[in-house]
C-alpha cells in the first residue's frame, strides 16, 4: 500500500517518540489531543462494530432461543411421558377402585345371602356361537360342581354345566337349552324360564288364569336349578296368550347384563344346609 522509505520511517518514529514523550510530560493536554485525533477514527470503527455486535446479539438470541426451545422440547417430551404414565396409573387406579367396589358389594351380598357361595371371575366366553355360556376361573378344587346355580348382585346368571380342576363352564339363563323354575313375584304363579336367541328369556307354562302383567318381576322358585328362592331373574316385558291354550308365555328381560359379567357367585349350598346340592331332577339335562 504505502511504500515507506527509510526516511519516512524515521520521521514517523520520531513523531511517535515525541508523542509518547508528550504524553508523559504533558498528560492532560496529550489526552485531549489524542481524543481529538481518535474521535473520527472511533466513529469509523464504531460502525462495523455496531453491525457486528448487532449480528452477534441476534445470533446469540437465536442460539439462546434454539437452545431454550430444545430444552423446552425435551421438557415437553418428558412432561408428556409423565402425563401418559400418570394417565395410565390413573386408569389402573380407577379400574382397581371399580373392581374393589364390585368385589366389596359382592362380599356384602355373599355375607347377606343364606346360601353358601364361592366367588369366581369370568375369564372367557363359550368357545362356540351355539351356546350362551361363560368360563369361570374356579373349578372342582374350589368346590364347584355341575348343576350349581350362578348369580350376581343383580340376579340369576345361569348354572354350571362343566367343571375342570380350575375352571368351569356356565350356561347362561338366556341360552335356549337352559331351564330354571321361577315364579312371578306378585301373583306367585310358577313357570319355567328358558333362553331365546336374542339374549332375552321366556317364561313358559304360566297358568292361563294368572293375572300376570307387563312389568311384573320374576324370581327363582328355589325348587330346582341350584338357586335359593327369591333370586331376581328379570321383568316381564310382554305376554302371549294362545286361544284355547292352557298356558301363557311371557317375554322376560333379564336383570343381569350378560355382556358385562365380570365377577359372579356360585351357589354351592343353596339354603345354608351342610350337604352340597345334588343334580336337580326337574332340570333339562341338555346339553
Amino acid at each position: 500500500m504505502f511504500r515507506s522509505t527509510s526516511g519516512t520511517r524515521r520521521v514517523v518514529l520520531v513523531l511517535c517518540a515525541l508523542l509518547l514523550s508528550l504524553v508523559f510530560v504533558l498528560p492532560k493536554q496529550s489526552r485531549t489531543l489524542l481524543q481529538t485525533i481518535g474521535k473520527p477514527l472511533a466513529d469509523i470503527v464504531a460502525l462495523p462494530l455496531e453491525l457486528l455486535s448487532a449480528t452477534d446479539r441476534r445470533f446469540e438470541a437465536v442460539w439462546a432461543r434454539y437452545v431454550a426451545l430444545r430444552k423446552v422440547q425435551e421438557e415437553n417430551e418428558q412432561l408428556r411421558r409423565e402425563i401418559e404414565f400418570l394417565r395410565g396409573q390413573a386408569a389402573d387406579l380407577r379400574e382397581m377402585a371399580a373392581a374393589n367396589q364390585r368385589l366389596g358389594e359382592l362380599l356384602k351380598f355373599q355375607g347377606k345371602t343364606p346360601s353358601q357361595t364361592v366367588a369366581a371371575r369370568v375369564i372367557g366366553r363359550d368357545a362356540t356361537n351355539w351356546y350362551q355360556g361363560v368360563v369361570l376361573d374356579k373349578g372342582e378344587q374350589d368346590g364347584i360342581r355341575a348343576e350349581m346355580g350362578v348369580l350376581t348382585l343383580s340376579g340369576a346368571v345361569g348354572r354350571v354345566v362343566k367343571t375342570r380342576a380350575s375352571t368351569s363352564v356356565v350356561l347362561l339363563i338366556t341360552d335356549p337349552n337352559n331351564a330354571v323354575t321361577s315364579l312371578i313375584q306378585r301373583t306367585r304363579d310358577e313357570g319355567i324360564i328358558e333362553g331365546t336367541f336374542d339374549g332375552k328369556a321366556r317364561m313358559k307354562y304360566i297358568p292361563v288364569l294368572s293375572t300376570v302383567r307387563v312389568g311384573d318381576p320374576v324370581v327363582t322358585s328355589g325348587l330346582t336349578g341350584g338357586f335359593p328362592r327369591g333370586v331376581p331373574v328379570g321383568t316381564i316385558t310382554s305376554i302371549q296368550k294362545d286361544e284355547g291354550g292352557l298356558f301363557q308365555t311371557a317375554e322376560v328381560q333379564p336383570e343381569v347384563d350378560f355382556t358385562k359379567l365380570e365377577e359372579v357367585l356360585v351357589v354351592t349350598v343353596p339354603r345354608g344346609t351342610e350337604e352340597p346340592q345334588a343334580a336337580s331332577p326337574g332340570e333339562k339335562k341338555k346339553p
Binding site: D126, T128, N129, W130, Y131, G133, V161, K162, V169, P287
Partner: protein, 160 residues
C-alpha cells in the same frame, strides 16, 4: 416349523377364541377360528394333519363350551380331512374355491350343532341368527387367512 406352528395353534387358539374374539364379534357372532384353522391345516399340511389337528382343536373347544363333549372334536376332524382332500385332489386352488368350501363346512358344522340340540326349539331363528352369519364370517376370514398363507407357503409348497 410345523411342530412349533401346531403347538402354537393348540395352545393359543382357544384363549383367543374365548377372550379376544368377544371384542371382534359382528352382531354377537364370532368366527370359528378352530374350524378355519383345521380346514387350512388340512389344505396346506395334508389330510392326516388336518384330521389330527382338527380333532385336537375341536376337543379343546368342547372343553370350553357348554355343549356336548364331542360335536366340535368330530366335526373339526372331518373338516380337517375335507380340507386335506381338497388340497390334495383339486388341481388349482384359489381363494374363489376356498370361500365356498369354508362357507359350506361352517354351515355343516352349524347343522351338526342343530342336530345335537344346540338351537333349542327355535331352529329357524338359530339358522338365521347364528348359522348363516357364522358361515359367511368363517368364509370371509378363511379366505383372508388362505391368501396370506398361500403367499407365505408358496415357496415351501408345504408347512414343513
Amino acid at each position: 416349523m410345523k411342530p412349533v406352528l401346531y403347538l402354537g395353534l393348540a395352545v393359543g387358539l382357544i384363549p383367543v377364541q374365548t377372550t379376544v374374539l368377544e371384542h371382534l364379534s359382528l352382531a354377537g357372532v364370532r368366527p370359528d377360528l378352530c374350524l378355519i384353522a383345521a380346514s387350512l391345516i388340512g389344505f396346506f399340511g395334508g389330510p392326516t394333519d388336518g384330521v389330527l389337528m382338527g380333532a385336537l382343536l375341536g376337543f379343546e373347544q368342547d372343553l370350553f363350551s357348554a355343549g356336548d363333549a364331542w360335536v366340535n372334536a368330530v366335526t373339526k376332524a372331518l373338516f380337517g380331512l375335507s380340507g386335506g382332500l381338497v388340497g390334495r385332489y383339486v388341481a388349482r386352488v384359489t381363494p374363489a374355491t376356498v370361500a365356498p368350501l369354508l362357507v359350506g363346512l361352517s354351515a355343516c358344522s352349524g347343522l351338526a350343532f342343530l342336530l345335537a340340540g344346540a338351537g333349542g326349539q327355535d331352529t329357524l331363528t338359530a339358522v338365521r341368527s347364528v348359522l348363516l352369519p357364522q358361515a359367511l364370517l368363517d368364509g370371509l376370514i378363511g379366505v383372508v387367512a388362505y391368501s396370506l398363507l398361500a403367499e407365505r407357503f408358496k415357496r415351501d409348497d408345504s408347512l414343513v
